[in-house]
């Protein structure tokens, strides 16, 4: 006996419609459908009434729908568009998250009106919604108008969430409106797009008027000026990369992009976190899907790049947010070829000059910053009337000054190792002496450094006498210790104490 697996149709509809998380995805689906219908103009209106009920109206001048097309529109997984963005028949199911879907379409002299009532409520009631069809003759040119009433956008269409700016950037970033296809064909299917929001959502400006072309920031290869690297920008012209797979198939990757500094990049559309959107985008239908920044390699920073690499062999999830065939040889071949292509971009002489110029400008900025710090240092030095050591190099300078200016003894630095406990070897009249040279003597003891090999301390100042006194009261590394500053020495140990002379320079060098 054979049994046929069953599909729970209601659950499937709910599942697919719920896959669309961002309410703006409704715009992406509308634009894709209009594009697939060969529209040259699509107008979208989004309205919100005072109760927060959303209405979407999408109109295009595409080839319209006949009854079969309308079935595909409402059916699940029954697309009749083989070579189109919406080939899966999933996208329009986002409209089901509404109170009513009304379609008015004209194709080949026939006008069809169709209405689906309460699709979302019915689905959630475990009922499959139905739609009406009314046909009539018409001499109008082909077109389609879709109204979606009571669209469940959550808070996505609320005035505080939705703005013209946000939609415009979304269109350019996430939809066919940001297509890079126009770079690759003379026979480009251009589609003008308008989006109008009701004044209850955004009344700050007029409707959006754009088209389905992603344009890069203007080129600015060699700007004049001193600190201009952030303005630099170069376009990398469209290239068709072909890759042969082991099974003989051939893939085509269409790649186009730009490299630019921050100011140039800021002119690009963005959706989400701006800085996280640069790099190399893998695309299908010339709509960006996921980034593949590994192609840039560890030697380069991804944010200088904005490239879109389109390959129709990529397979996407229902909501087009993810690539599904990452574990296959197609994806591997695409990414391998992109690795090679981007390595070439990174060897381009303009790119190398751009990176050099950035480094040079960073250095110039650093010099400017140093200049202002220098000015502050000079001012401070003048105020304090000369050198006041704050590091060991300055203590060495003071020691040299001390020895050169009539000191009772000559003490010179013979060797210096910054991080050692015995950081200085002194050349004295008694021969070489191991010394610890400190800005403040108390710093040495604060670090609990051993005294075993130290013959002498050289310091600018004694430092925190209370801290030293506190050490005297307990012990230092298990032994008693006395700081005798009358005689300039440290007495360390119990049975046969070690005497370590202290040379305090601040008292002796004016």
């Amino acid at each position: 006996m054979h049994k046929k697996p069953q599909v729970n149709e209601v659950n499937e509809f709910i599942e697919i419609a719920s896959d669309f998380e961002d309410p703006l995805e409704v715009i992406r689906e509308a634009l894709s459908n209009s594009y697939d219908a060969d529209a040259t103009q699509v107008d979208i209106k989004i309205e919100q009434d005072k109760e927060g009920r959303n209405t979407l109206v999408i109109e295009d001048d595409g080839h319209g729908m006949d009854e079969d097309d309308l079935s595909s529109f409402f059916d699940l997984g029954n697309s009749n568009k083989d070579d189109a963005i919406g080939y899966k028949g999933h996208g329009t199911k986002i409209y089901y998250k509404s109170d009513e879907i009304r379609v008015e379409t004209v194709k080949d002299g026939t006008r069809i009106e169709s209405v689906m009532n309460q699709p979302w409520a019915k689905l959630n009631n475990r009922e499959l919604p139905t739609y009406s069809i009314e046909k009539a003759s018409s001499d109008e040119p082909s077109r389609t108008r879709i109204e979606v009433h009571g669209f469940r956008a959550g808070q996505g269409f609320d005035p505080q969430k939705l703005t013209y700016n946000k939609i415009e950037h979304y269109i350019k970033w996430k939809t066919i409106g940001g297509s890079t296809a126009w770079h690759f064909t003379d026979d480009f299917h251009r589609m003008d797009i308008t989006v109008e929001l009701s004044s209850t959502i955004d009344e700050t400006r007029d409707q959006i008027q754009t088209d389905n072309r992603l344009e890069f920031s203007p080129e600015n290869r060699d700007p004049d000026g001193e600190l201009v690297a952030e303005k630099m920008c170069k376009h990398y012209p469209p290239r068709e990369l072909t890759v042969a797979l082991d099974d003989g198939r051939e893939l085509t990757i269409e790649v186009v992009g730009m490299v630019g500094g921050k100011e140039a990049r800021n002119e690009l559309p963005t959706y989400g976190k701006h800085s996280a959107q640069f790099g190399i985008w893998l695309a299908k239908d010339h709509i960006k899907v996921e980034r593949y920044n590994d192609a840039i390699g560890a030697d380069n920073e991804f944010f200088h790049f904005f490239f879109v690499a389109n390959c129709q062999e990529l397979e996407l999830s229902a909501n087009r947010e993810k690539i599904r065939n990452k574990s296959g040889d197609v994806y591997q071949a695409i990414t391998d070829e992109l690795d090679r292509f981007m390595t070439k971009v990174c060897q381009d002489s303009w790119y190398q000059k751009y990176i050099e110029r950035r480094k040079l400008e960073d250095k110039k900025r650093s010099i400017r910053s140093q200049e202002s710090t220098l000015e502050e240092r000079r001012q401070r030095t003048e105020e304090q009337g000369g050198l006041s050591p704050s590091n060991s190099a300055e203590v060495i300078a003071m020691l040299e000054r001390y020895s050169a200016n009539g000191a009772p003894e000559t003490v010179k630095i013979a060797d210096f190792q910054m991080d050692d406990e015995v950081n200085a070897i002194l050349d004295t009249e008694n021969g070489l002496e191991n010394a610890s040279l400190q800005v403040k003597l108390s710093d040495f003891f604060a670090d609990e450094s051993p005294l075993t090999h130290i013959d002498r301390f050289v310091c600018w100042k004694l430092g925190d006498l209370d801290a030293l006194s506190q050490i005297e009261r307990s012990s230092y590394m298990g032994e008693s210790i006395r700081f005798d500053f009358q005689n300039n020495e440290v007495r360390y140990g119990d049975e046969s104490p070690k005497l370590i002379p202290v040379l305090e320079l601040s008292e002796k060098v004016s």
Binding site: P237, V256, D299, R340, K344, Q347, D348, S349
Partner: protein
């Protein structure tokens, strides 16, 4: 008579013919390092384990070659006087070895390739001379040349004092001055050499190479091209894995040679082979030498191509197009399927294969250069590095800067 004729060029790569007396060598060429004398006696081709097996290939020993002629792998070989003492020989044996020129021994009498006798500067200076079981010989320029000449070479090179990337400036200058002094002494004995005299220069970038040439020119009594037949760029072995340094050094050396009017001389790159060779040919290197083919085999490595090696027992001999791997006899040897095989027999065949892989790439390159189309050179380089992730940026950089820019300055048009 020595001549070097450039017969074709593609970009900066050139194909040449090095003619020394009645021997001709097609360049670019790799001189495999051969230890002719390795402690043994004549019947054992003077010994040396895998080195011996390679000499058996060179000398057409049918038991080792399987009857095939592999002389094309050995049209020009490199041998160093420093290797004479590698096997702890006694002085008596050294004298015996040097009593005949290499081709005067019966076993090598049929060998008709070129012999490049290196002075072995690096090793000799490191060891302080030649040291055998019962002798120590200080080696200076004169003694080095005496030993080189005793080998009956086609090409000799002066005793050099190789520099090291970590040398202090003063140390480097001292070494360069010593090399220059040796070069001058070497040039004085030019007439004793019945073949080509090569001059060593050292440096990793243009300023260093400029100094190296200047110091030598100051020491010489005559212009370099009158005293020498070729330039040998040395001291690159410590940087053999840094292809960027290698390309810069060779490229800058070529520039110096061009500026000084020595560009007609062949440029040999001492001690380098393998994956860097195609790039170095592309910037104008003519010949190379290396023992890497042998060392790889001794370490159990089988070259899949210029970039990759696999352990011998993982090698797929059937997918290799080289003559050694297409010979049932050697496949059986490399698979250890024959009776009474010594390790040297197995590894000898692997070494011959490793050498064949490198020679094959140079042969392809020679053909490409002959076509005179620099685009084909670029294509070849691209294909060669296609799957070499870490390496390809250097190849692409070279192609972009020296052959064909990937993105023309004016290329802003869209389809």
């Amino acid at each position: 008579m020595v001549s070097f004729d450039v017969v074709a060029e593609a970009g900066e790569a050139r194909r040449g013919q090095l003619q020394i007396s009645d021997r001709t060598l097609e360049t670019p060429h790799l001189f495999p390092v051969i230890n002719f004398y390795a402690g043994g006696n004549e019947g054992a081709l003077f010994g040396g384990g895998v080195h011996r097996t390679i000499k058996e290939f060179l000398a057409h020993d049918n038991e080792v070659t399987g009857g095939e002629d592999y002389s094309d792998l050995f049209r020009g070989v490199m041998t160093s006087i420093s290797s004479l003492a590698d096997y702890g020989i006694r002085e008596k044996k050294l004298d015996w070895y040097l009593g005949n020129e290499i081709r005067e021994w019966d076993c090598f009498s049929d060998y008709n390739g070129m012999i490049f006798a290196d002075s072995g500067g690096y090793k000799i200076l490191k060891q302080g001379g030649l040291e055998g079981k019962d002798f120590e010989k200080d080696i200076d320029q004169d003694k080095a040349l005496d030993i080189q000449l005793a080998l009956g070479p086609d090409i000799v090179v002066n005793l050099d004092h190789p520099i090291h990337p970590d040398d202090e400036f003063e140390d480097r200058i001292e070494k360069m001055e010593q090399t220059a002094a040796n070069a001058a002494r070497f040039a004085e004995r030019r007439d004793e050499v019945d073949g080509a005299c090569y001059l060593t220069v050292h440096g990793y970038y243009e300023a260093m190479l400029e100094r190296s040439f200047d110091l030598i020119e100051d020491e010489l009594a005559e212009p370099i091209p009158e005293a020498f037949d070729g330039i040998a760029l040395g001291s690159l072995v410590p940087r053999k894995d840094n292809v960027e340094v290698l390309v810069e050094a060779v490229s800058d050396c070529k520039r110096e040679m061009q500026q000084r009017g020595y560009d007609d001389l062949p440029l040999h790159v001492l001690g380098i082979s393998g994956n860097a060779m195609p790039l170095l040919v592309a910037v104008g290197a003519d010949t190379f030498d290396s023992a890497s083919y042998l060392h790889q085999a001794i370490n159990g490595k089988y070259c899949v191509n210029l970039f990759e090696t696999v352990p011998i027992d993982e090698a797929n001999f059937d997918s290799c197009e080289c003559r050694v791997c297409n010979d049932d006899f050697h496949r059986a040897r490399m698979r250890n399927e024959m009776d009474d095989l010594y390790q040297k027999d197995i590894l000898g065949s692997v070494a011959a294969h490793n050498l064949a892989v490198q020679q094959r790439e140079l042969r392809k390159f020679r053909q490409l250069i002959a076509e005179g189309d620099k685009d084909r050179v670029a294509e070849y380089l691209e294909e060669a590095v296609k799957d070499q992730k870490g390496f390809r940026k250097f190849a692409y950089q070279l192609i972009n800067e020296r052959i064909n820019p990937y993105f023309e300055e004016t290329d802003t048009t869209y389809a």
